[in-house]
């Protein structure tokens, strides 16, 4: 009994750590992007100020679905983050860091947000939700194929064991071992994080920040926390799957920072696709590349 309590506490600690880490790194990244844009940029802890400011505001409600959806989104995402291994040996629930757990649990949070946004009754929000789901359909397929290839090669779907597999001498990181798949994964990760050019479902100039259009105050603050933890989960997945996991926590933070910053810099010089272009894009090159990679890796056995 006490074991389970301890595990849950550790899990919440992991989620909290993820939130703090991602929020700080996002703040630093705002400075980095500001430099690309010839500016100084905000303080590094600006994201914390934003989130706590939002939580300190009063807010209106648009019915109980609207409120409940936000709580469901945040709870679902915290629940997902609890399973995330930080290093290849440290995790809250030992043995439950299966890749498919994340795929299923992250959907709870997303669905909560979609439900809540549709509950607001704003047409822009429903367009945004529709676009978000379409984008999800687009990037999931190539990403899944690449990840299934990895699972086939390693013979396990546990994140920490995939990480450990890459750390064994003789095996290189999957980002290098499966170079085509690695590129596909980067593109899919940009789609997951909603970075440009796949930012279609936020699109302030078209649908006024899409799903978030009706949120303000506390609900928006909770959504921001949810967003930060989602980013933490997705980037961590990439680190564990493709960048050889992490032997210790410092290495994890370094890899995490490099991945997130690189994506942000790439994103800052791109425009935004239309939604049909997003779908076409993902179903064209990344899908072909992912299938090619799977074929090469599994049937021909060419793994660097």
């Amino acid at each position: 009994m006490i074991d389970i309590l301890l595990m849950i506490l550790t899990g919440i600690g992991v989620a909290l750590f993820g939130f703090v880490l991602q929020t700080s790194i996002a703040g630093v990244n705002r400075k980095v992007v500001a430099r690309v844009q010839k500016r100084y940029g905000p303080k590094w802890y600006q994201e914390f100020l934003d989130i706590f400011k939002l939580l300190s505001k009063r807010s209106v409600t648009h019915g109980w679905i609207f409120d409940f959806g936000v709580i469901m989104a945040l709870g679902g995402i915290i629940g997902t983050a609890m399973f995330m291994p930080l290093t290849s040996s440290f995790m809250a629930f030992d043995g439950y860091d299966n890749f498919f757990i994340f795929v299923y649990l992250i959907a709870v949070g997303m669905l909560g947000m979609a439900m809540s946004a549709s509950g607001s009754g704003n047409p822009l929000a429903s367009i945004g939700v529709m676009r978000a789901l379409t984008t999800m359909l687009a990037y999931e397929v190539p990403f899944m194929i690449v990840v299934l290839t990895i699972i086939k090669i390693t013979g396990t779907s546990s994140l920490s064991e995939i990480g450990l597999f890459q750390q064994v001498a003789g095996n290189s990181w999957f980002f290098i071992a499966l170079p085509i798949g690695g590129i596909v994964a980067v593109m899919a990760l940009m789609g997951m994080l909603g970075k440009k050019p796949f930012e279609t479902y936020i699109a302030p100039a078209e649908i006024a920040s899409g799903p978030m259009v009706e949120y303000g105050g506390k609900q928006l603050g909770m959504l921001f926390i949810m967003h930060e933890i989602t980013v933490f989960i997705e980037v961590s997945l990439f680190v564990h799957l493709f960048l050889g996991g992490a032997e210790n926590i410092v290495l994890f933070i370094v890899k995490y920072f490099v991945v997130y910053t690189a994506l942000n810099i790439i994103s800052s010089v791109y425009g935004r696709f239309k939604i049909d272009q997003v779908v076409l894009f993902f179903y064209k090159w990344p899908l072909i590349m992912a299938i090619t990679q799977a074929f090469i890796a599994i049937y021909l056995g060419w793994v660097i």
Binding site: K196, A205, I207, S268, V269, G271, I275
Partner: protein
């Protein structure tokens, strides 16, 4: 799926200025669209009737916020036509420098504004930074950043300050050196090209139906229909420049023409600085009695080429101290009102903001 009504504006990050586009969408496709103007209506035409000719100088730049200098130029030209004023030679060249700097600034702003609907905010920041440099040059010349009140009937208010040529030259060199970078960041960027290639085309045959002028027309009809060439004012007949044209007017062609005009404007400013003679810059009008200055009777229409097309002032004088009637032909009137009503349906929701940006819909001059 049923039709939904969306409001692009008045408070919307994709709209430039305070206007509202009402859109009925089916999925992402626009079925019907209207512009709702009038949110910037200030009663200018009435206000000008209530002020004297000289007082109006401070009122007119406020008609179009982003490009005040063409207003001043058109107003000054109309008054000069009515009062038969001869403008000193040097004033013509100074006016051209101011107008072309203003054209540079608004093209940079529009090019940066393209970053907003397409999501490329980096371009927006870069372009606005350069625009800010132009505003600083304006502040040195005229004392104001945005509303200069510098081109007045009978010339310009004051001569150029000493040493401003150096500032202008260094800015032009800087801009020219980074011109390719601008192109690479913006319209040569694959993601931007995916958005603007073949987006919201404007066929050549509908141009006349709408009455669109400026870049929107030139990029469709493929002829150099620019008022600076067709009926040259100031000293545009004595400088050499090309008018960029294109055979097929989509968003890409229009932005491309804008960027080419930037190069031409840089050339014009350089020629002006080289060819500018010395001399007076202003004809004194009725010294000491400016408020009681009267202008002979008549109906005139004066127009200049703004960045969005033909910008004109229709002016009636009854021989009094005030204008009897001033009518403003906003350059973006056709593409703003009729263009949005007729040529947005059938395009996608994502493209509505692109039309507003690339055709240059300036809401203050529609509403006045």
């Amino acid at each position: 799926m049923k039709e939904m009504k969306l409001f692009l504006g008045p408070q919307h990050p994709g709209m430039h200025g305070n206007a509202s586009v009402h859109i009925y969408v089916d999925g992402d496709i626009i079925k019907k669209s209207f512009l709702l103007p009038g949110m910037l209506h200030r009663g200018f035409e009435k206000g000008m009737e209530r002020h004297s000719w000289v007082n109006n100088i401070s009122l007119i730049p406020r008609v179009c916020v982003v490009e005040p200098d063409t207003n001043e130029m058109a107003f000054a030209m109309a008054v000069e036509m009515l009062a038969k004023l001869e403008v000193p030679e040097r004033a013509h060249w100074i006016r051209m420098i101011i107008l072309e700097l203003a054209r540079l600034s608004i093209h940079l702003m529009a090019y940066g504004g393209l970053g907003s609907p397409t999501g490329l905010y980096t371009m927006m920041y870069h372009a606005h930074t350069d625009r800010n440099t132009i505003l600083n040059i304006f502040e040195k010349i005229t004392g104001h950043r945005v509303y200069h009140q510098y081109i007045v009937p009978g010339g310009v208010r004051k001569d150029l300050p000493v040493g401003i040529e150096k500032d202008i030259h260094s800015f032009l060199d800087d801009l020219e050196s980074r011109y390719e970078e601008y192109r690479d960041l913006g319209i040569n960027n694959p993601t931007i090209q995916a958005r603007i290639n073949d987006t919201i085309p404007l066929p050549a045959e509908v141009v006349w139906e709408l009455g669109v002028t400026g870049i929107g027309m030139r990029s469709a009809v493929n002829k150099p229909y620019d008022l600076r060439k067709v009926k040259p004012y100031a000293r545009y007949d004595q400088v050499e420049f090309d008018v960029p044209v294109a055979p097929y007017s989509d968003a890409y062609a229009r932005v491309d023409c804008k960027l080419q005009e930037v190069v031409q404007s840089i050339g014009i400013i350089r020629q002006c600085l080289a060819k500018m003679p010395e001399g007076d810059v202003r004809v004194p009008i009725s010294r000491g009695q400016a408020m009681r200055w009267t202008v002979p009777k008549g109906h005139v229409y004066a127009c200049v080429e703004s960045s969005r097309g033909e910008f004109g002032y229709f002016m009636v004088s009854d021989g009094g101290t005030n204008p009897y009637r001033v009518g403003v032909r906003g350059a973006s009137y056709p593409q703003g009102l009729l263009g949005i009503e007729k040529y947005l349906p059938g395009t996608r929701l994502d493209d509505a903001a692109l039309w507003v940006d690339t055709m240059g819909v300036c809401s203050p001059e529609i509403d006045r």
